[in-house]
């Protein structure tokens, strides 16, 4: 009976998640002070500011991280910022190339002048430390094996302090290294885009002022999409996530009701 029930739950779950994607409910998002703070910081950066986006996006986390990375990249290009894309996960360059395609098509960005893709580096936080401590020595070529010395955007950055903002989109803990090292040692503004699961840890750094903003999961991404007036995948997904959460909650309650009923039947021994 229990196994059969699990199958019913799975079928119901498919409908709960799919239906709002087909028929949007447009539920309110609710407040996001951390997202508001991230938006305000980026919006206030002067034109031509150089920023670094560290894309640790992979198929396993793209549902949460990719919409927020896209939204922030759009905000940067709208404001005329120059963006260096780096990654410490192998799949990251694929998403960096998608941002390049979007920037060139929608904002007329010129590769090498307005944006730049750095190749994948292994080593996680150590690669981030190397980038922060001596950015010019950490990389010599871009993703396409072009020497960086010849690219105008690269010559604008001799050290990490020349960068106005470093943001990291990750399901790991590299965003915390931003706070600990990029901000802690070099005093360069840092922003974290993370999966909702990492928020309880990352929010401590935001509350301390070590992160200028925090984009948390699909909700944070949807909030940002709405701030830049470009509703996208995250906004579409929010209704599904809302109903999905409520469904999980109802399952917890129903599971406990069954548990208490069985406990009472068995005379209190669970």
């Amino acid at each position: 009976m229990r196994d059969k029930m699990t199958h019913y739950i799975w079928v119901a779950l498919v409908f709960v998640v799919l239906l709002p994607l087909i028929f949007p409910l447009r539920l309110p998002l609710g407040p996001s002070p951390e997202g508001e703070s991230a938006y305000a910081y980026i919006d206030a950066l002067p034109e031509d500011s150089v920023t670094i986006m560290i894309l640790e996006v992979a198929p396993s986390n793209e549902g949460e991280l990719w919409p927020m990375a896209q939204a922030i990249a759009r905000h940067h290009f709208t404001k005329g910022h120059r963006v260096i894309l780096a990654t410490f996960v192998p799949d990251g360059v694929m998403y960096a190339e998608k941002i390049r395609t979007m920037a060139e098509a929608d904002y007329g960005a010129v590769y090498g002048t307005d944006l730049l893709i750095l190749p994948y580096r292994a080593g996680g936080e150590m690669a981030l430390v190397a980038l922060a401590d001596d950015i010019q020595k950490a990389y010599t070529e871009d993703q396409y094996k072009t020497p960086l010395a010849g690219l105008p955007l690269w010559s604008a950055v001799s050290k990490i302090e020349d960068v106005a903002l470093v943001s990291c989109y990750t399901s790991g803990d590299d965003h915390l290294w931003l706070a600990r090292h990029v901000w802690g040692k070099h005093s360069v503004a840092s922003l974290s885009g993370n999966i909702a699961l990492s928020t309880p840890e990352a929010i401590v750094y935001y509350n301390n002022g070590q992160l200028v903003g925090l984009i948390s999961g699909v909700k944070g991404a949807a909030f940002y999409e709405q701030k830049i007036n470009k509703p996208g995948l995250a906004t579409q997904s929010m209704d599904a996530q809302s109903l999905g959460h409520v469904f999980l909650l109802l399952l917890m309650i129903a599971g406990n009701l069954v548990f208490w009923k069985e406990k009472r039947k068995a005379g209190g021994a669970a």
Binding site: R2, T6, I9, W10, L13, V17, L27, P28, L29, G30, P31, A58, P59, S60, N61, E62, G63, D91, V93, M94, E97, Y120, R121, A122, G123, G124, M126, V129, A130, D133, D134, K137, A138, Q143, Y144, K145, K185, A196, P200, E201, I203, V204, N207, K219, M238, D239, Q241, S242, L243, G244, H245, L248, L249, L251, M252, A254, G255, N256, F259, A270
Partner: protein
């Protein structure tokens, strides 16, 4: 020498990186940055080692015809083919990107999305209120869960406020305690490695 060599390397590199973090001496900072860059090269070797290990593991499974060995053939063929394509044509080649976008990306996303079904099963079967502590956990968890989505705010503006308070106050206190405790442990462990007292990273620590 077999034991003293690694200890000496740990001592010298550990001290240089440590001093490089706190002092502004140019030669020390340069040496520290160089060692950090070596770490990236070591990490790249670790990746290669992981790849070889996977190949060996699945190769053994195929040769010994262990249960489900047929799946290992798929792994080996896919691994070798994709690796060869990446090395010979670069990861920016259309062929490499085509496979990534049309095979790997959808397959990996699908695998990850399956976790939702396990979560649903766990909510139904595993989360039981057996005592008042688990009751508190359930109520708090439910409020945080609802506070993270728009529906929570639609039910009551108090829900996202309570959710934000839980994350910012009791959660932050616990996270800080864990982080500080873990960091102190890391400092102690690092000092032990630098001084050669900690040897578990070398052949299980046996002399």
């Amino acid at each position: 020498m077999k034991r003293e060599g690694p200890r000496l390397v740990a001592l010298v590199t550990g001290l240089i990186v440590l001093i490089g973090h706190f002092f502004t001496s140019a030669p020390i900072k340069a040496a520290s940055a160089e060692i950090v860059r070596w770490r990236i090269i070591v990490a790249a070797f670790a990746l290669a080692l992981g790849g070889f290990n996977m190949l060996r593991l699945h190769g053994n499974k195929i040769s010994q015809k262990r249960p489900n060995w047929q799946y290992s053939i798929i792994f080996v063929v896919a691994f070798v083919a994709y690796f060869t394509l990446g090395v010979t044509t670069s990861t920016t080649s259309p062929g490499y990107k085509y496979i990534w976008q049309n095979l790997y990306q959808p397959a990996a996303s699908t695998m990850y999305s399956f976790t939702l079904f396990y979560m649903a099963s766990a909510c139904w079967r595993a989360f039981r209120i057996r005592n008042w502590q688990s009751g508190v956990l359930m109520v708090t968890g439910a409020a945080v869960l609802l506070g993270q989505v728009g529906l929570g705010a639609a039910i009551s503006p108090a829900i996202p406020k309570f959710s934000a308070w839980v994350i910012a106050v009791p959660n932050a206190a616990a996270i800080r305690a864990i982080t500080i405790g873990g960091s102190l442990g890391m400092v102690v462990m690092s000092i032990r490695v630098i001084l050669g007292l900690e040897r578990t990273y070398m052949a299980g620590g046996k002399d």
